[in-house]
Amino acid sequence: MSGHRITTPGRDFQERSARAVADPQLQHALRNLDRRLRTAEEVAAAHPEWKERAAAIRRETLADLDGWLLRLERALADRGMHVHRAETADDARDIVLDIARAHGARTVVKGKSMATEEIDLGTALEAAGMRAIETDLGEYIVQLAGERPSHMITPAIHKTLPQIRDVLAHEAGHELPVDREALTAWARDRLRIEFLRADLGITGVNFAAADTGTLVLVTNEGNGRYCTTLPRVHIAVMPVEKVVPRLADVAVLLPLLTGHATGQRLSNYVTMLSGPRGAGEVDGPDELHVVFLDNRRRVLLGTKFEDMLACIRCGACLNVCPVYRHVSGHAYDAVYSGPMGKVLTPLLSGGAEGADLPFGSSLCRACNDACPVQIPLADMIVHLRAGTATARRARPAWQAWSRAWASPRSYRATTALARLGARFVPRRLLRGWTATRDLPMPARVPFRTRWDREHS
């Protein structure tokens, strides 16, 4: 996507991940993830029954997604919000730009939102001559660095404190100390100026309750509250699967989301918006627009990837993934990273992007276990492999192999041949293994021969 510098270069996931594991600064920064791993696990372990309930709510929603969306649309409209439906990322960008232009917006403040990353909204706003400012501290750092978030909850997880200082000091135009409090204070003061002058606030949505017409936003810093409080216009970009049938369902999903995301029992701020500014109120937006974003989601309904729409973007699968924990988000070169990104990136791009991502998994199933809504991510990764050109090319070889091994006689013959040939296989064919590991050799006498000798 345009507008972002690729921070971990390489033509594919393999090359980028190899570079990532060899980057000592990145490896140092990533050790910080281990802390989150433990706290999130503790919270999740405390309430195992929540997962069942949450998974059931998400499945109920997906079973009639269009119906719930229609109900949500009516409820939001009843409360004075404007609903727009965007079929594609292009549609969503156009809708947002039209609203922004209609209000003569010049400064746009953005809350952290994966959906707006997905449609690369910041770039579109800048191209239309507006200043689009990321206001989540991590996102702000990443934006200033010309990069893309590397983790959906902690966007600047790939950076060490001295690196963050360098980015902020460059923007400040003067020295800043390598000190958390001082850097935070500087960013707070700088972004406050932007909040006060912004004409438009843009956020995502964590949940939207169809029964009450309520948008739920989960934040910790307070920037999301600014984006929905001070600007005259607020646009919430909501991927269609964010709908939940009832506000009561949010009581189940919310602590599960925050527990898995950060280990918090509840996020610091939970904002429930049920309309624009009310009569007689002095703050809150005059207009509140909600953009329903499809972008190839509803086509997944009824397929074996439907469950992926249950995802609540908590990042738990990233935090437990041994591959993610060593390569970090940029290696994926996609908006969504980690196990969920390996599944979602090819799906949302119709196979055009990230086709190689599913192969970069050891299929250890830690993601399946971590997922608070029980999405079988590792199994989806295997299913996605089967649909790739790589797998199609290899299929004749696998077919030949399986034909041979479906017969005990040819199994014996081929393995006997392999035993003889193993010592003569050119090492370069096995370089993937042998560059860092010794090659195990077949036993001279296989198990079955020894069994025969002992039992005949």
Binding site: C364, A391, A394, R395, G432, R437, P440, A443
Partner: protein
């Protein structure tokens, strides 16, 4: 009528680690089980399945189903191969749903079979050494086997020193180890580091593929640390001759 117990040795043990196959039989026999070896068995098809060739995998799944259908229990020294049967055969052979379900219900990883099915905690082995355990991914998260190997080792007199992140992947992952050697090796190194910190003699697991991977890395680096060993081999080494 006595129960018929089949050894599902796996292609990896058959071709690369036959000693572990022999050890598995010895351990099962010392627990009172009489084991048969269905000679027509080959491979469960997992390599093709995970490579994205489900048709090829299905062919071997059908063969596996035919070979093992007559047995009351199918026991294997690989959590991963047992998980293949239990978790993925249903999807590969949808037209034989009942047979698959029946086979899946009778297929067990070795330690799981001993402890949870036979109720044998003590196989009569003495292994009075400090050990650490790597919970192989598919045994742990596919079959939910975590306590059984520990129970067996403890009853055999071993002192278990748990390593940090015993439940984290060793980085093998089949084709992943060939396609992503840098990440795969980094994971193996992390695992070996954690194992080394326990200052034990053996790094025990219930999956030969993980052990093969860790041992191959260890041989290359020549770093000290506990020797990777299959649970069956370690227990068999402590059985009376």
């Amino acid at each position: 009528m006595t129960a018929r117990i089949a050894l599902f040795v796996t292609c990896v043990a058959d071709q690369l680690f036959p000693d572990t196959g022999i050890a598995t039989v010895r351990v099962l026999e010392s627990a009172g089980a009489r084991v048969e070896f269905p000679e027509a068995q080959t491979c469960c098809g997992q390599p093709a399945y995970t490579a994205g060739a489900p048709d090829a995998a299905a062919r071997l799944a059908r063969h596996h189903l035919d070979v093992f259908a007559p047995y009351d229990a199918i026991v294997t020294p690989s959590g991963s191969c047992a998980a293949m049967v239990r978790l993925h055969f249903a999807e590969l052979v949808p037209d034989r749903r009942d047979e698959v379900a029946a086979l899946a219900a009778r297929t067990f990883e070795l330690s799981e079979y001993l402890v949870d099915v036979l109720g044998v905690d003590d196989v009569g082995a003495r292994v009075e050494v400090p050990v650490t355990i790597h919970d192989a991914c598919h045994g742990l998260r596919g079959l939910r086997v975590a306590d059984a190997p520990r129970t067996l080792l403890r009853r055999a007199g071993a002192t278990i020193v748990e390593m940090t992140e015993a439940d984290t992947c060793c980085g093998f992952g089949g084709v992943f180890s060939l396609g992503y050697p840098e990440v795969s090796t980094r994971l193996a190194d992390a695992k070996l580091e954690h194992a080394r910190a326990t200052e034990t003699r053996w790094l025990v697991s219930t999956d030969l593929a993980c052990l093969m991977h860790l041992d191959a890395r260890r041989k290359r680096t020549r770093e000290p640390g506990p020797q990777p060993v299959h649970l069956a081999d370690l227990l068999a080494s402590g059985l009376p001759k």
